[in-house]
């Protein structure tokens, strides 16, 4: 990987992002941090959707669980911060294991519907449990330890964690596990015939993905200091799905691009008009008609050499 031609430019980008907060207004730092959190979430979804071929329709649940876990721990108990950081992703992965275990027995659409129903159940419970979770008000004012509570510090914290997670995800996708996952995406029946326990493999992928979603949830709390039930509502899940689509779900970094575009659009279009969902809807339609492989997929197509038998680079 060190020898990959992307290594140099990536280091440069990382350094630029690192020193950026010193030069740009607070607001942009905040937006960038938000983009990082959302990118991590979108990347985690793409592990199972783009690379695993599963209809993970309610990924937001795991994000919300991670966020609520750390939110509740920090607000209601006096446990140290790092326990919250670890508990969040673990809870998310446990919920992922539970929900995933039921879902992998089904195919495609039924997988998705069961997940939506289980996720909505969790949403409904959290929504109404005022005494414990704050109900539809959410939990505002979560105390974040002073070392990462100023915006700049949380920015760096989030950026570093994001990069670590991305590196891990990259390694996983390039490993035999990742290759096999992609094979399952393309042809689960054939995989069964060559000795792969497809369900177990898919479940493992789900647990990994939900773990990362939990990390994203924790980072969200670090940034926003509060938790909302919207995180668990299916609309967010669908938005994450769209981010993957927008960026290109068969590519590695596509979801990052998708997340960046969505967050940027929502923020900047939102300044001019309240009707940014309208713009999003139109954008989506354009995407469906003209760019079905997503933005990144489109660029990859342009730059791929057009030889007779399409050849893949490494």
């Amino acid at each position: 990987m060190i020898r990959s031609k992307w290594f140099g430019p990536l280091i440069v980008i990382f350094l630029v992002l690192f020193i950026l907060p010193l030069f740009i207004p607070r607001f942009y730092t905040y937006i960038l941090a938000l983009i990082y959190v959302t990118s991590l979430l979108a990347m985690s979804l793409n592990l199972v959707v783009g690379h695993g071929g599963m209809f993970q329709f309610h990924h937001g649940v795991f994000y919300g669980v991670g966020a609520y876990t750390i939110g509740l721990i920090l607000k209601k108990t006096s446990l140290p911060m790092w326990i919250g950081f670890i508990a969040g992703p673990i809870m998310a992965a446990l919920v992922g294991l539970l929900i995933g275990w039921f879902c992998v027995r089904l195919t495609r659409l039924y997988f998705g519907m069961l997940q939506i129903s289980l996720g909505s159940l969790i949403w409904a419970i959290v929504f109404r449990w005022y005494s414990f979770t704050g109900g539809d008000d959410g939990i505002p004012g979560i105390p974040i330890p002073p070392v990462i509570s100023p915006l700049k510090n949380s920015y760096y914290f989030i950026l570093v964690i994001l990069v670590i997670c991305l590196i891990i995800m990259y390694l996983i996708l390039k490993s035999p596990f990742g290759n096999t996952l992609q094979a399952i995406r393309d042809n689960p029946q054939r995989c069964e015939a060559i000795g792969i326990n497809v369900r177990r493999h898919q479940l493992t992928a789900i647990v990994i993905a939900t773990f990362f979603a939990g990390i994203a949830g924790v980072l969200f709390v670090v940034l926003e200091r509060s938790v909302f039930t919207e995180l668990l509502f299916w609309v967010l899940s669908l938005e994450i799905f769209i981010m993957c689509l927008l960026g290109g779900w068969f590519t590695f970094a596509g979801p990052i691009l998708g997340a960046a575009i969505m967050v940027a659009l929502r923020t900047f279009v939102g300044i001019y008009t309240e009707y940014w969902t309208l713009i999003l809807g139109i954008l989506l339609i354009l995407l469906i008609f003209f760019l079905p492989e997503g933005v990144m997929g489109y660029f990859q197509e342009i730059f791929r050499p057009r030889t007779k038998g399409v050849v893949e680079k490494g």
């Binding site: 909505s120 309208l278 809807g281 989506l284």
Partner: protein, 274 residues
Amino acid sequence: MILFVVCGGLSFVLGVLRVPNIAHGSLYMIGAFATFTLAKLIGGSAGFWIALIVAPLLVALISLIAERGLFCHLYQREHLMLLLFTFAISLILGDLVKIVWGAEYRSVSPPALLKGSLSILGASLPRYNLFLIVIGPLVAIALWLFTNKTKIGKISRAAAVDREMVGVLGINVSWVFAIAFVIGCYLAGVGGALVAPTASIIIGMDHSLIIEAFLIVTIGGLGNMWGALVGSLIFGVTQSLGVLIWPQFAIVFPYVAVVIVLLLRPKGLLKSVW
């Protein structure tokens, strides 16, 4: 019952086009808002009845435009794309509603005929609810008649099972889809019109409805209209049960029911068209 009308339409579209129509919720919302405006314009009791007829037609018109203009070009694509398209439409329609009607909530009062309550078996039931209980099965019967007795209905059913064959038979499959889609959306509009007098008409209606509608359609069996009826009943009953037993968590009850059904019978209770 209202849920059934809406879900019946969703199920129908699902069965014929094999596409879960996320915009169904938005169309429902438009139906409600349109009813509000029409009722206000025309005034009085007659306003409601007229709105009940016209609003769904308006909704149907919108859906026709969306379908002919854009949707029909996508039929060859994967279902996921179609689903995302309906989501995009729902986003657009949702904001259009905000633009046209503003963000405050509205209400419509029931027409004079249906105001107040009737006393039946010692319990006092709102007349409007009785009206709904009557309308529900009427719609069900109408739908059943349509799909089983009329030519178009039968063709739709055939297209649901095997669209290529229907095409080979010389029937314009595209138009069949268009008609099916419009009818399904019409029902969404009817549902919206019917719900107008009973609940506050607000912006988030589409989101809360569509999730419930989807779950109902799934537990009933995708594409199966009787399934939609069964599903709506289960949903409604468990919700009422919830209100009686544990009001704070009333909305949790239907979700639990859905989860139980899906765990036991993932393809839904009744046979699905897929």
